[in-house]
Amino acid sequence: MAVDIPDRLPPATSVGVLGWVRRNLLCPWYNALLSAATAFLIAKAAAPFWNWAVTNATITLDPAVAKRHTGAAWGFIREMWPVFMTGIYPAEERWRPLLALCAVLAVAGLTCVRRLRGAGWLRALWLTTPVLVFACIRGGGITGLPEVGTHYWGGLMLTLLLSVVAMVAAFPVSVLLALGRTSDMPVARPFCVAYIELVRGVPLITILFMASVVLPLFLPSDLDLDKVLRAMAGITMFFSAYLAENIRGGLQGLSRGQYEAADALGMGYWTKMRVVILPQALRIVIPPMVNNFIGILKDTSLVGIVGLVDLLQVAFATTSNPKWFGRLAEAYTFIAFWYWVLCYGLSGCSRYLERRIPSAGK
């Protein structure tokens, strides 16, 4: 006779919240010690920050009131917000960068609509946006807007412009460099190898110094580029070498069969590259390329050293203002927040793409 033994539940200590805590934090004994030490560390670091940033903070626009509190004066950020965004861009023209940003966001939003993707007019829109953004922000010429020279550009706007231009401009250059390095052309190959290795071997800051100090000596005396453009050229030069190495990885990651099949179909070099090789190779290297873009975004902060006022340098400009003097901690926190959100967003994007793109056939 079968005796019906009731199912015994697992002990309360091994399921539910308690079980999780036990498994992940307390067992074995040294794990509990580790947890305690970590918790202590977190509390020790986070509590003062929380007190400073939230509990004792103020958001008033009046510096006198803010001074009476020991915490952060977020009113400084509130008041200086436009300066952080656009630097010394003239106040009455600030709607223009905003308009440009809206335009870019609108185009990006349209692209996200699946049905519209691939439409011819959308591509045309993508091609014209950079020109429109440039014309809108700089003004002058046929736009009829008052001209705002590049040395008025600053803040987050300059950081974004520098990195986006560098990303867009570095891409074709790096494709050419990667193709040159993997080809067997007599002069182009050694040249590409030398270029890539040279640029990867030196710090960005020396390239920026070169762009800002030496480059004008190399050019004919009648050609003259302004500082922002030269910084853009320097960053583009620098990152095209890194990007080229990524793309070369993609080119080498394709199986030989792809090359041979394309040859067998009687394709010429450029057709082969355009139709068969590059589409596949670029798809493999999208995640590392996005990582490179994060690098560009972070490294644009170096342009401050050659005298441009980007997001990071705005911290100094705004904190020398007698009204909000010396609020460096607030400024850095705010700037760090922006960089972090942008970079983390990009890396999230890279992870998403990594999951979505099937690795090309090896």
């Binding site: 992940n24 580790l34 947890s35 030196v202 110094f209 070169m210 000596l217 990071l312 960089y339 983390y344």
Partner: protein, 432 residues
């Protein structure tokens, strides 16, 4: 295409020459010999490769070469252990000989310290030495910190794992210059002034001028003492080797602890007794504006090293974690099945395989440390780029200075890549 390149290069060259000529700018590297005239905040002594130092280098090279020849002669097959006599000869040649030479020429070793009347060349070399100091500490520190963070992320402890993950995410996504400014301008502000410095009886003084520790001042017996320490280290190595061989031959390790400890303590102690006190301590003392004496770490140096270490450690942690995770689970299980304990599993099975994955990306992070050390210019540490920038301004020789910058960094990068490639080749999978 070829023609295009050549034309471009030629026209750039022509432009430069023409620009330099029309603007009356002198060119060439002759300016490097003229007097610098400015002062550098942190001066590292440079051993001048002439006189005694040159003999030392020569003897070191000769010693290494000879000992290698001896080793080849005595143990022609690869990997075979050297017989005791050969080993002694090798050690004497590669360690003893250079030390003896250094001792013999100790009075003619020239250490150049930069001063205002030195040449631009010495100024640049001093900057380069400062860069090396930062880069070496940054590489070592970021590896150790990265390893700790990676182990933290791999630990089963949820809290620690999460903390380490956020450490990585935070540091990876913030520009290194921002981090340097943070360490320098925010942390520096938090430190007390000179008059209110934290002073632990002179053993450690901390204020907003930096961290001061007692310095070792070599005295008469220092040479003997250093020689004894070197000899003791060699002796310990021999002892360990012997013990290992005995383990392999008989399955029972030879004695290690006692002879090792005896050597390590006894030899230096003997030297101390024979040669007198080798070092005296120089304590930092508040004098006038600042603490004098002792060894000081300036805030600039500390901020740069800490900033670089923390920034790069986040990348290193990810690399090391990926490396360890890349070793398949089966390897670990197989090792356990062979009754290895956790330490052996890690040391004998996991790490050697993980290293193959870790080393190539770690190389580029080391390169990044060297290259990012050039950001010193932002926080006032006199590194190679910063000193070069000053010279650029004083002499106006922009093309030459930028050329020197690039050339030197390129050499450093190539050297590091070369070393790491050699190491990589040694640990790479050997197909048998």
């Amino acid at each position: 295409m070829l023609g295009g390149f050549l034309w471009l290069a030629a026209s750039m060259y022509r432009n430069t020459l023409e620009n330099l000529r029309t603007r009356g700018i002198g060119s060439g590297f002759g300016f490097l010999r003229s007097e610098a005239g400015f002062r550098i905040g942190e001066v590292t002594g440079l051993p001048l490769p002439q006189g005694g130092f040159l003999y030392f280098l020569l003897s070191l090279a000769a010693g290494l070469l000879l000992s290698r020849l001896v080793a080849r002669r005595l143990a022609p097959g690869r990997g075979g252990p050297l017989p005791g006599k050969g080993l002694a000869a090798c050690l004497a040649l590669s360690v003893g000989l250079p030390l003896l030479v250094l001792y013999a020429f100790r009075h003619s070793v020239e250490i150049v310290r930069y001063s205002e009347s030195s040449s631009y060349l010495v100024a640049l070399a001093t900057g380069l030495a400062n860069t090396f100091k930062v880069a070496a500490l940054g590489c070592a520190g970021s590896t150790v910190l990265g390893l700790l963070v990676a182990l933290g992320r791999l630990s089963p402890n949820w809290l620690l794992g999460t903390l380490c993950r956020w450490y990585v995410e935070l540091n990876r996504n913030l520009p290194v210059l921002l981090q340097l400014f943070f360490w320098y301008f925010i942390v520096l502000r938090g430190l007390p002034g000179v008059a209110q410095s934290i002073d632990l009886g002179g053993w450690l003084v901390l204020n907003n001028r930096g961290l001061f520790l007692p310095a070792l001042v070599p005295r008469e017996g220092a040479w003997l003492f250093c020689g004894a320490v070197a000899a003791a280290l060699c002796g310990v190595w021999v002892v360990l080797r012997r013990s290992r061989r005995m383990w392999e031959e008989t399955g029972r390790p030879g004695r290690r602890a006692l002879p090792g400890a005896l050597l390590l303590l006894g030899l230096p102690a003997l030297a101390w007794l024979a040669g007198g006190t080798p070092f005296s301590l120089d304590f930092p003392v508040l004098q006038g504006f600042n603490y004098k004496g002792g060894t000081g770490l300036t805030p600039e140096f500390t901020a740069l090293v800490v900033g670089l270490t923390v920034y790069i450690s986040a990348f290193n942690a990810e690399i090391i974690r990926a490396g360890i995770e890349s070793v398949s689970r089966g390897q670990r299980e197989a090792a356990r099945a062979l009754a290895m304990n956790e330490r052996q599993v890690m040391r004998v099975v996991i790490l050697p395989q993980a290293m193959r994955v870790i080393v190539p990306p770690l190389t580029s992070e080391y390169l990044a440390v060297v290259k990012n050390s050039s950001l010193a210019v932002g926080i006032g540490y006199p590194d190679f780029v910063s000193v070069g920038g000053t010279i650029l301004n004083q002499s106006g020789q922009a093309v030459e200075i930028v050329g020197i910058w690039m050339g030197v960094f390129l050499c450093i990068s190539l050297c590091i890549s070369f070393c790491m490639n050699v190491y990589n080749a040694r640990i790479a999978l050997v197909e048998r």
